[in-house]
Amino acid sequence: MADISSNFLGIKSPNPFWLASAPPTDKKINVLRAFEAGWGGVVWKTLGSQVKNVSSRYSAVNFGAKKMMGFNNIELISDRPLDLNLKEIKECLKLFPDRAMVVSLMADNDRKSWHELIKKVEDTGAHGLELNFGCPHGMTERGMGAAVGQDPEIAKMVVEWVMEAATIPVITKLTPNVHSVVPTGKAVVEAGTNALSLINTIQSVTGINLDTLVPNPYVAGKSVFGGYCGPAVKPIALKMLTTIAQNPVTSKVPVSGIGGVSTWRDAVEFMLLGASNVQVCTAAMNHGFRIVEDMIEGMNNWMDEKGFKTLDDFIGKSVDKITHWEDLDINYHHIANINQDKCIHCGLCYIACEDTSHQSINIEYGKPYNTYTIKEDECVGCNLCQLVCPVNGCITMEEHRVAPEYLNWIEFQKRGLPLNDH
């Protein structure tokens, strides 16, 4: 059995699966249930100035029969009294001393407020602090949350205040509602944050009720932009994570990966792109805390199969595999192949290629089953047919290099090689 215990800035947890700062970590009863289910740690829902939440808070994007492919919320930070939160954090720490307890913070924009809040939270015995510079709704209108994270200068200033007071590790959570997460990431690392976490939610409108014409979520005939998350945002999160992992400044600190993590596979992907652990919210809100069981087992089995003994053995292993377009090997070429024994004759590859790609699939009409074959000379190797094929392993992409040696675009141009050769 592999060892999946995690050590994030000295904050230890039996596994790298934490619950993100969000509704599931708002109070003791939820957090205790999470720990009982096996979660390695939690980031307690953001504490800060007094707020009041509205009724109707979430909405979702479904895809086909699958519910909640994407999810958004318009909930603000914790609306419970600070003292109650602090008391419950203490109680949870006492009952589960082996789990990570990080507390998310969003104080008013002045040094004194931050210092006071940090002091109170540290008194609970919490292991770390996470600065909420990402919340995209409600708090931004008060100059907090994403409003801080979107401006590197302000973010830097706040982190400096925090670092003056904090005696436990500080994680700064980044907002994705920027053209790049790197400028703010760099600013806060330079200001001394011990770690980064990303991404927070993305501003969104999930949909509109076609009867009432009011967008979701509905609050008395109106709606607001909500923070988007769930499986749909994972690719965006992975991209932003990669930019942090590849930057020489931001890559110096550990990163906690967030954004649509639903399974052990997602978690492994985040970690391969440089995250030291992951934080989960939507998947738990969709299915309950029990999902962590398979996350633990699945990651463990995968590590055993790959021969990884500890998390550090694979964290970051894919970071250097994402390169610049100019560095891609133009001599690499692959061509689709349809395994006729596996083909179920659905025609999805054909119509996708014929209508929207390179007309590289031949159709031989039959009743009721047509036969589809690849026109190898026409195929540009785009993968579309393989992606739409409903049968695993039916369409494979087979390597047919143009030439054995590596050739990139810059060199290609230099040599004046011909364009559009297929």
Binding site: G64, A65, I344, H345, C346, G347, L348, Y350, I351, I363, Y365, K367, P368, Y369, N370, P390, V391
Partner: protein, 450 residues
């Protein structure tokens, strides 16, 4: 003993309840609709005699465009609601579903089709609008699937249609010849009403061609005539004892169940059903469900040659119906004018016949079944006498048509069971569409050609 009223009201209701229940909820329909792969040039569509665009109508259920879904179905098959209940989909659309090739359950196409069409019928969405009147008039004989399908296409295209039906209800074999647990009489009525509601279709009931009206009259009063007269009574067995009390025609037996109600239809204690087509299955299972103690299907070939589908045979077997293969009825023995025994010849398979199936050959051995009722379901015979009297070219009563659905008499067209000798409802619907297209070509273009 042959008697009616064998069961309680509850037992009848239970025995004749819907054999393929619909989706209970919208969610259930959505789950199934979302399973569809949306195939291109889809095998299901190509296996439907009316070429319903199955992936399209299922996608429309998934997008909750039920009106569009029903329109897609009805555009190809105006009896799409009835067909969703009576089609042998296991050998048509569902049998061709690509999921079969993945060893997965095929999409429940019929159930989804029923879902969309039932909503359309319940809400009485009229999804087609008649084109302005062309002033042309067409007579259709027979308000069965072929006639109604033909009438609907013609009406859509601005032609005034009069349908002459010898029964008091429309729907043809859909109404009179199919097991009650597949379609209820009420549904059949509703379906006819829904089709006719487009307007421009006047159905005259209880009018029989050759009796109440003549073909000459129709030819005179209308611009064209379409014969969708179907097929008639069950094929005679031509064996001794066929006239005994207790020997009944399957179509008549099913008709009575449909027309008169379950409790009024008499059934024996021990029933033999001759034949192995869909009608034989419908007769055997319904005899059992009416309270017969023993029902035996007798067929002269083997299971490999049977005309019904496996699914149908399973319905009969699950009802407790016995099956005897390679047995041909030789004579029916009686006492005091009533059926007592069925004597069968034991057959074996010989050389393939015209249908390509190995033909049964008498071994000379016999066996005897104690029965008090024999139901004849060895196919139906066309209206040979009527067709002959009308001087329409035919083969043993089956009307001959050319590639334009035209008979030998100018302006007289035909289709459906009257031409093919008896196929599925869905085949008749397509025949009606083909007939309508041919008639329109005749009415609007033929003069230029000739």
């Amino acid at each position: 003993m042959i008697k009616n009223n064998r069961l309680s009201k509850e037992q009848y209701a239970n025995n004749f309840s819907d054999i393929h229940p619909p989706f209970e909820t919208k969610d259930a329909a959505l789950v199934e609709a979302n399973r569809c792969l949306f195939c291109y040039d889809a095998p299901c569509t190509k296996s439907c005699p009316t070429s319903i665009d199955v992936p399209k109508f299922i996608k429309q259920i998934a997008t909750e465009n039920i009106k569009g879904s029903a329109h897609t179905i009805f555009s190809s098959n105006i009896m799409g609601a009835g067909c969703s209940k009576v089609c042998p989909v296991e050998k048509l659309c569902e049998g061709a579903c690509v999921y079969n090739l993945m060893e997965e359950t095929p999409i429940h196409i019929a159930k989804l089709q029923r879902y969309a069409t039932e909503i359309a019928m319940q809400k009485n969405w009229q999804l087609f609008q008649r084109k302005p009147s062309t002033g042309k008039k067409v007579a259709i004989v027979g308000a069965g699937p072929a006639g109604l399908s033909c009438a609907h296409v013609l009406s859509r295209n601005g032609i005034d249609v009069t349908v002459f039906e010898k029964e008091s209800k429309g729907g043809g074999l859909m109404t009179y010849g199919i097991a009650a647990y597949k379609v209820t009489p009420q549904f059949c009525n509703d379906e006819v009403d829904y089709i006719v509601d487009i307007g421009g279709i006047d159905v005259k009931y209880n009018i029989e061609l050759g009796k109440d009206i003549t073909l000459a009259q129709l030819k005179k009063e209308f611009d064209a005539v379409y014969l969708g007269i179907g097929v008639g009574v069950a094929r005679q067995l031509d064996i001794p004892g066929e006239k005994l009390e207790g020997v009944v025609d399957a179509i008549k037996f099913i008709y009575e169940i449909r027309a008169n109600g379950f409790s009024t239809v008499p059934v024996g204690d021990k029933v033999a059903v001759i034949g192995m087509g869909m009608t034989a299955i419908d007769a055997a299972t319904q005899a059992k469900r009416l309270g017969a103690k023993e029902v035996t299907l007798v067929y002269r070939r083997t299971e490999a040659e049977k005309p019904c589908t496996d699914v149908e045979l399973d319905i009969a077997r699950l009802d407790g119906v016995e099956v005897i293969w390679l047995a041909a009825p030789q004579k029916i023995k009686g006492a005091r004018g009533k059926v007592k025994q069925l004597v069968c010849s034991v057959m074996q398979l010989g050389e393939p016949d015209a249908s390509g199936r190995r033909s049964p050959v008498d071994t000379g051995e016999t066996f005897t079944l104690d029965v008090d009722m024999v139901i004849k379901a060895a196919g139906q015979v066309p209206f040979e006498k009527l067709v002959g009297k009308l001087k329409i070219q035919n083969t043993k009563g089956k009307i001959s048509i050319d590639e334009n659905c035209a008979t030998n008499i100018k302006g007289v067209f035909a289709g459906g069971d009257a031409v093919n000798g008896g196929k599925e409802v869905v085949d008749a619907v397509q025949a009606g569409k083909d007939g309508a297209a041919a008639i329109m070509n005749f009415l609007f273009h033929a003069k230029k050609q000739s």
